[in-house]
């Protein structure tokens, strides 16, 4: 019998705020243990939380990007549980009225993954287990998080993979989070169940906690699918439980079962006021929302005639697409600009972080000047390439590297003269070509290029040579 997978995701994302959720301590990753703490994030007696407005704004931004509705009135609640990494013994979160709700994300297949809610909350500290002791680092304690909860709309690990990657891309793109799973700024809990293909009733689900890479998530999902399917085939039942992924052998193992599920005793946080989001505030935040990547992609293809692949390259990183947008405004040949950005400029960077940052010395205006010369035929692509390389190194204008003669361009008459000269001086190549060796033409083109010091356009030179040779 065939079994279908059903999965839902809860994703925790650390927000890129300067300070923590309820105090002014810094949020940077790592640092000397317990060096970024104060009475508030340490939960010292008598301290009180004060909500970080930037965190609320970023959460709303995430909500808008994920097509959510925003609650104009939501509440903060206490989630009570005792654990040494949680110094107040409760986490301030949102329970019944989250900030954002009813959103969705569309996968490339067109399938819609519904997002039931996004709420804000604070992170806990970190326990470091040594041989005979456990140490606690509260630097992360109180770092703002959003939790993005989907409906159980996934039916394969591929869909989950695509969703997580899209989410990562989108949240980075709008500047809400750096979404680095390895550093823990993005963590996923996966709920998964299987059921026979002929059944409508969802099976008993298990939850795999704290997945820290997409690859592991896929492995864990596939392992769970197999494990649950095998159990069902043997006629056994699935236990509803919380699991952890065991990295060493790619399996899952139980953390706790439903019987000792925690009762969080939620109630309204009395130390914070209800969260009012006014019309004007929401409007202002909406204006901060950049053009969404999917819309941008469509625009690049339609407006500039870029290939879908090229457009995808450009929208992958927000700064790159913004750079391109600037150049596109200054030139009528955005397509040529896109080639230069994707090809030459992009290859300057090797790491994701560098690509994300896209720190280049050339300004959009400088690039547009080069594009203008290139598309008007005043310089050819190889000269443009070497010039751009120099510009990228120095940050200087295109005119600093091209002589007056370079810029004069190359007239048709000059080209025809050079082509005639090439034919005249390379009889063997001409003979080969006439004998049917098409490749022999390239030797002639090479001659023209050399003679013109690279100013000639290889394509036009080839056309011209062909014409001269066939006419004769």
């Amino acid at each position: 019998m065939k079994y279908l997978m059903t999965a839902g995701l809860e994703t925790h994302v650390e927000l890129s705020t300067k300070s923590k959720m309820f105090c002014s301590c810094k949020t940077e990753f790592a640092g000397e243990p317990n060096s970024r703490c104060c009475p508030v994030c340490l939960g010292l007696p008598g301290s009180l939380p004060v909500i970080n407005k930037q965190a609320v704004e970023l959460a709303i931004l995430a909500g808008l990007a994920l097509n959510c509705k925003i609650n104009t009135l939501s509440y903060m609640d206490r989630k009570n549980y005792s654990y040494p990494d949680l110094p107040k013994a409760y986490q301030i979160s949102q329970y019944d009225v989250p900030l954002c709700y009813d959103g969705f994300i569309k996968l490339s297949s067109g399938k819609v993954i519904r997002i039931s809610r996004i709420h804000i909350e604070e992170d806990a500290g970190k326990l470091v287990h040594n041989k005979n002791e456990t140490l606690i680092d509260y630097n992360r304690c109180g770092v703002p998080l959003i939790e993005i909860v989907t409906e159980p709309d996934f039916s394969s690990s591929d869909e989950v993979r695509e969703y997580v990657q899209m989410l990562q891309h989108l949240l980075r793109y709008i500047g809400v989070s750096d979404c680095r799973m390895q550093e823990g700024s993005m963590r996923c809990d996966v709920n998964v169940s299987v059921r026979p293909a002929d059944s409508d009733k969802l099976g008993t689900r298990t939850e795999i906690k704290n997945m820290n890479s997409v690859a592991n998530m896929v492995k864990a999902l596939e392992y769970e699918y197999k494990r649950q399917t095998e159990l069902l085939e043997k006629g056994e039942s699935i236990t509803q439980e919380t699991l952890r992924f065991v990295e060493s052998d790619g399996s899952t193992s139980p953390m706790r079962s439903k019987e000792d599920a925690r009762d969080y005793r939620f109630f309204r946080e009395p130390d914070l006021l209800p969260l009012h989001i006014g019309e004007a505030e929401l409007k202002r935040i909406k204006e901060n929302l950049p053009e969404m990547p999917s819309i941008k992609l469509e625009r690049y293809v339609k407006e500039f005639g870029l290939s879908k692949t090229d457009a995808q390259h450009l929208i992958k990183y927000r700064r790159v697409s913004e750079f391109f947008d600037e150049v596109a405004k200054l030139t009528s040949d955005a397509k040529t600009a896109s080639k230069l950005i994707i090809g030459q400029m992009f290859s300057l960077f090797s790491t994701e972080a560098q690509k994300e940052e896209f720190s280049v010395k050339v300004t959009p205006f400088q690039l547009s000047e080069l594009v203008a010369l290139l598309s008007s035929g005043k310089v050819n692509s190889s000269l443009a390439k070497t010039t751009l390389d120099k510009m990228l190194l120095s940050g200087k204008d295109v005119t600093d590297f091209l002589s007056a003669e370079d810029l004069k361009g190359f007239t048709k008459a000059e080209l025809e003269n050079l082509c005639a000269k090439a034919i005249e001086q390379s009889p063997s190549a001409v003979a080969d070509f006439k004998g049917g060796k098409e490749k022999a033409l390239m030797a002639l083109v090479g001659f023209v290029m050399r003679e013109s010091r690279g100013k000639a356009n290889a394509e036009t030179a080839k056309e011209c040579l062909e014409k001269l040779l066939t006419d004769n």
Binding site: L44, G46, L48, V50, N80, S82, R265, F267, P270
Partner: protein, 486 residues
């Protein structure tokens, strides 16, 4: 004129130096505290240091504020940087805060002279002072009777003149009831009027820091100093435009005084208290106020509603005391962190605190939450609405503060009667309203009787104005044999 103004002018006239004055209080504390247990910690060095600072300013001819150099004390659940803050619990016996509570830092800014930290019911849970982990404070009018609580040491210190005024905290009458038992003026401000930053939380949504003193003027001056917006407390976001002090002597002619039938005719209120309160109402009438009779049967639910909400919040607020980072830790070896936490909490919390944590955990757990906590919240909202309606008909409401004057020590703590002790005080906490206790008479046994004036939200100025007018009219004086001679 209140004590603060008198001290202020004698400091200005150099009749007495701040150090002399402070030493006088310190030696009175040294002499009487072992009997009265008003203080859990005496901060002699801190007091003298501030006193010298004030004397220096005076000798240089610098101007000083009204509260400068005035010896005062603070309930031991209000955080004081570098000064042990115990909540009179074994749990926090060695806990020293690294920061000052906002209310205290505002007084500190004015060079208030801190004599020490006052005794209290453990974590502010109780209304007798007997739940302290040290000896309970004594009622200076009758040593066999309770001071009331939970601000027991504050009431004891001020009424026996071991301190000019004290900051208490009021979650369900904890400032007003001991003020009533000890013949003091005690104000519970509107929720959000005074910053709670640094007040060690018991029931966050109900509690406020409030001043206790021997006169309305003193309470008003201290309230003006500690109230107002604080960026560290989101629920305290209101700036008062005018001081309450400047309105103390406003005319009260035509003010509408509400009396609640459930209290004025309530069977649980003793007849001598009813009579005393009635006399207050008559006095106001004679001064040109109009009396409005109200009926608010919802207030009879106030006590259970209070205990459910307060305990629920307490169970969460006190969960952080786990013996890991600070506070009491049980001795010995542990199999797990869980065991360490359990044993530390079992050994360090007193009986009443444990009872309330258990009750609060219970009313929030699973299905019970909708039976208890959710219902209590609905009833609380209803009480708020009833008060809002009442304040359309009147400007202030007058009730007894307590059903009886101070009662004998060692009453059974389990008795529901003891819980109902706070029936008159609790509604103002549930509805976030300002309320003041004002001494209004003496019982046959010579004990003070208190009247409560409740105002609309943020109407402290009117509440204190009404109180001041009565105080001037009634001219009640309470003296004890203790403390600095007056």
């Amino acid at each position: 004129m209140g004590k603060i103004e008198r001290i202020h002018s004698s400091l200005l006239s150099r009749e007495v130096s701040c150090r002399e004055l402070t030493e006088e209080y310190l030696s009175a504390i040294e002499r009487d505290n072992s009997t009265l247990s008003a203080f859990v910690t005496v901060t002699e060095d801190c007091a003298l240091e501030t006193a010298d600072k004030v004397d220096k300013k005076l000798s240089k001819g610098e101007s000083i504020g009204m509260l400068s150099g005035v010896p005062m004390s603070i309930k031991d659940n209000i955080s004081t940087k570098g000064i042990r803050t115990t909540c009179c619990s074994k749990m926090l016996w060695n806990y020293t805060p690294v920061y000052d509570a906002t209310a205290y830092s505002r007084l500190k800014l004015q060079d208030a002279v801190l004599l020490g930290k006052n005794n209290m019911d453990e974590f502010a849970m109780g209304n007798t002072g007997e739940n302290s982990c040290i000896a309970p404070s004594k009622n200076p009018f009758d040593m066999s009777r309770v001071t009331g609580g939970s601000s027991s040491g504050s009431a004891c210190a001020v009424s026996s003149n071991l301190s000019v005024y004290s900051l208490g905290s009021d979650t369900g009458g904890s400032v007003r009831q001991p003020a009533a038992f000890c013949g003091l003026v005690g104000l519970k401000p509107t929720f959000g009027a005074v910053s709670r930053y640094g007040l060690i939380a018991y029931a966050s949504s109900l509690e406020q820091i409030g001043p206790m003193a021997t006169s309305v003027e003193d309470v008003s001056l201290v309230f003006d100093a500690i109230s107002g917006k604080d960026v560290l407390d989101s629920t305290c976001n209101r700036e008062y435009e005018e001081s309450t002090f400047s309105h103390l002597n406003d005319s009260i002619k035509g003010k509408r005084v509400g009396i609640i039938r459930e209290f004025s005719q309530g069977e649980h209120i003793s007849s001598e208290v009813k009579e005393a309160v009635n006399k207050v109402v008559c006095t106001y009438e004679a001064m040109g106020a109009n009396v409005v009779e109200l009926t608010m049967p919802e207030l009879l639910q106030a006590v259970p509603v209070y205990y459910i909400i307060a305990c629920a919040e307490a169970s969460s607020n006190l969960a952080r005391y786990d013996g890991i980072r600070y506070g009491y830790r049980a001795q010995g070896d542990f199999q797990s962190v869980h065991e360490l936490i359990c044993r530390s909490r079992s050994e360090a919390f007193g009986k009443e605190v444990k009872r309330r944590i258990l009750m609060g955990t219970n009313v929030l757990s699973g299905d019970k939450c909708s039976y208890y906590y959710d219902k209590a919240k609905l009833l609380k909202d209803n009480i708020c609405r009833q008060f809002a309606r009442a304040f359309e008909k009147c400007d202030v409401i007058i009730t007894p503060t307590t059903p009886t004057p101070a009662f004998e020590c060692n009453r059974k703590a389990e008795s529901v009667e003891l819980l109902c002790e706070d029936a008159c005080a609790i509604p103002a906490n549930l509805a976030s309203l300002p309320a003041v206790n004002l001494p209004c008479g003496v019982s046959k046994t010579g004990l003070p009787i208190g009247v409560q004036i409740i105002g609309n939200k943020f109407c402290e100025a009117l509440v204190l104005n009404m109180a001041y007018k009565y105080q001037q009219e009634a001219q009640l004086e309470f003296c004890t044999k203790w403390g600095v001679s007056q």
